[in-house]
């Protein structure tokens, strides 16, 4: 298997976590497949069981190869990009805030409607990412939410909930 960098020996231990997750997924797939009834009929002699069985076994095999690769110093290069600075550590606070804002939208979208929840999503996410112009952030959020609501829900018939603003919008 691949050995990109033998110099970074013992470098990225967290990769073993990925191997463990893959193996666990494999076990889960196998357990789930084992409770499937073996239905065989003339137009489907193998039934729904073999595919997940094969997949579960392959997942476990690949997790082992992966672990061997990591043990030999293999490292997956983290993705780069225009706005990505890999010299910094993972900014846990920003990510946690974003996840919170995202979850809030999932909870609020039906009771409050897309216009309100979407505005909050934009404003909150921009705040989490370092925006400190609160009024501007909120204004852009409200504008985007209104434009998308009118263009998509009313113009194109895409399903976006109006929520408590039903009848006002």
């Amino acid at each position: 298997m691949s050995q990109q960098s033998l110099t970074g020996r013992g470098g990225d231990r967290a990769q073993y976590g990925v191997c463990a997750a893959l193996a666990l997924l494999g076990v889960f797939v196998l357990v789930d497949a084992s409770r499937l009834g073996a239905v065989a009929s003339s137009n489907d002699p193998v039934g729904p069981k073999p595919a997940p069985m094969l997949l579960g076994i392959l997942l476990i095999i690949v997790s082992v190869f992966y672990a061997v690769d990591v043990a030999r110093g293999g490292v997956g290069a983290a993705e780069e990009g225009e706005d990505v600075d890999l010299t910094t550590r993972v900014d846990v606070r920003t990510v946690a805030l974003l996840l919170g804002v995202f979850a809030a939208n999932a909870v609020l979208i039906e009771p409050l409607g897309w216009v309100i929840s979407g505005s909050l999503l934009f404003w909150g996410a921009a705040f989490a990412l370092g925006n400190r112009h609160h009024i501007r952030g909120l204004a852009v959020g409200v504008a985007l939410a209104l434009i998308t609501f009118y263009a998509f829900a009313i113009g194109l018939g895409v399903n976006l909930p109006a929520g408590i603003l039903q009848g006002i919008l």
Partner: protein, 509 residues
Amino acid sequence: MDNLNALLDGFGAVLTPVNLLIALLGVTVGTAVGVLPGIGPAMTVALLLPITYGMQPTQALILFAAIFYGGMYGGSTTSILLNTPGESSSVVTAIEGNKMAKAGRAAQALATAAIGSFVAGTIATLALVFVMPQVVEFAISLGAPEYLAIILVAFVGVSAVLGSSRVRGLASLLVGLTIGLIGIDFVTGQQRMTMGVAQLADGIDVVVVAVGIFAVGEALWVAAHLRRKAAEVIPVGRPWMGKEDWKRSWKPWLRGTAYGFPFGAIPAGGAEVPTFLSYMTEKKLSKHPEQFGKGAIEGVAGPEAANNASAAGTLVPMLALGLPTNATAAIMLAALEGYGLEPGPLLLEKQPDLVWALIASLFIGNTMLLVLNLPLAPAWAKLLQIPRPFLYAGILFFASMGAYAVNSQPFDLWLLLALGLLGFAMRRFGLPVLPLIVGVILGPIAEKQARRSLQLTGGDPSGLIGGPVAWVCYAIIAAVLLWPLVAKLLKARRGGDHHDAETKTEVSV
């Protein structure tokens, strides 16, 4: 000549005022979104999917074709003006393109990229017109075992050939296949991997997977490592080229096209190899090799043409076989399924109007881009200065809207969050995302073909072997998978103990 007549009919269907307006909207929005830093063509198409939800299939396809080329073009603008490219396919363009921009020749770099994209896109789309129906003719004669074998080649190709690590590619593919397994079995009606959750019974929508992995995953990943000082944008005027630039560009455009189209058309060809080959060729053939690394126009013209031609080439397996070989094609395929169209060899037979309208709109979108982008480049460059908090907040906003709109259920937003975290983890650990998406889309089809093959033999595994086409496919797969082992054995034979084989072969060679 049948093809040309069909294509003319396609033009007839597309050339109405409303459709032209849709195409114009598509190229404009596609370019604008594609230019935004951090958004590649695949994410552009994924984020803009909701626009097409309320449309007729033909109009939706016109919009897709336009967004597709617009997003591609926007991506190359970013890599020239910002240097750090968003997609691996525009890495090579960035090498010389950014050097040119820094030397005050941004206008010429953008011009050769725009005109080169137009030339390559037009020639490659024309090649598509002639090649695709041939592939369909061949594909229709294939039985289930052969089709299964071709899908398996695509699996091995995207996970073990593209990308730098085979284990990581395969791991990503298997996770995708697992996601594809979720839902009710299509024959027996039994629930697989649903954990009793009712919303999972219909499976996870590919659009939700694509938006989660590409858009949400990317936004979270960038948020975790956000560059506090935005990268420097090079100001640019209206793109233009002098006589000398034309003279140095036209041959690289044609050679780049010749590299790009075939690589795009084979499963697992990708755009990385042809862009790189084109760069090496131009460097070798150039009369100004000393300029390479300092901003040689040939180094922008060739790879950019190769990139676009390869993108058009990927439409051959996508339309003829239903096989996606890059992320953008994967998302377009998912969208086709959303309209109740079944991608595969029968698509051209059942829906010829749609397919030819799509191809005609590729020509139209490409031409519009050329007309639009030369004068609008300074405006696009301004988009690069968008405040990053607003940019990534906007991505999350549109991703949430798109995912919710698929089925109108908040449950999909939780799925989107989970998939976004998966996408984050994959970026952190260097797992490629393309194999996952391909696995989600093709996994269920592969299983269907396998079960159909076994039906003919009553469950006897010999049904999977099929005919000569399948044999060739399995030989290719075996060669790819066993290659590292063979290489190691060869090395060991030459250099003794394989642990220090590398140093020894260096000595012996």
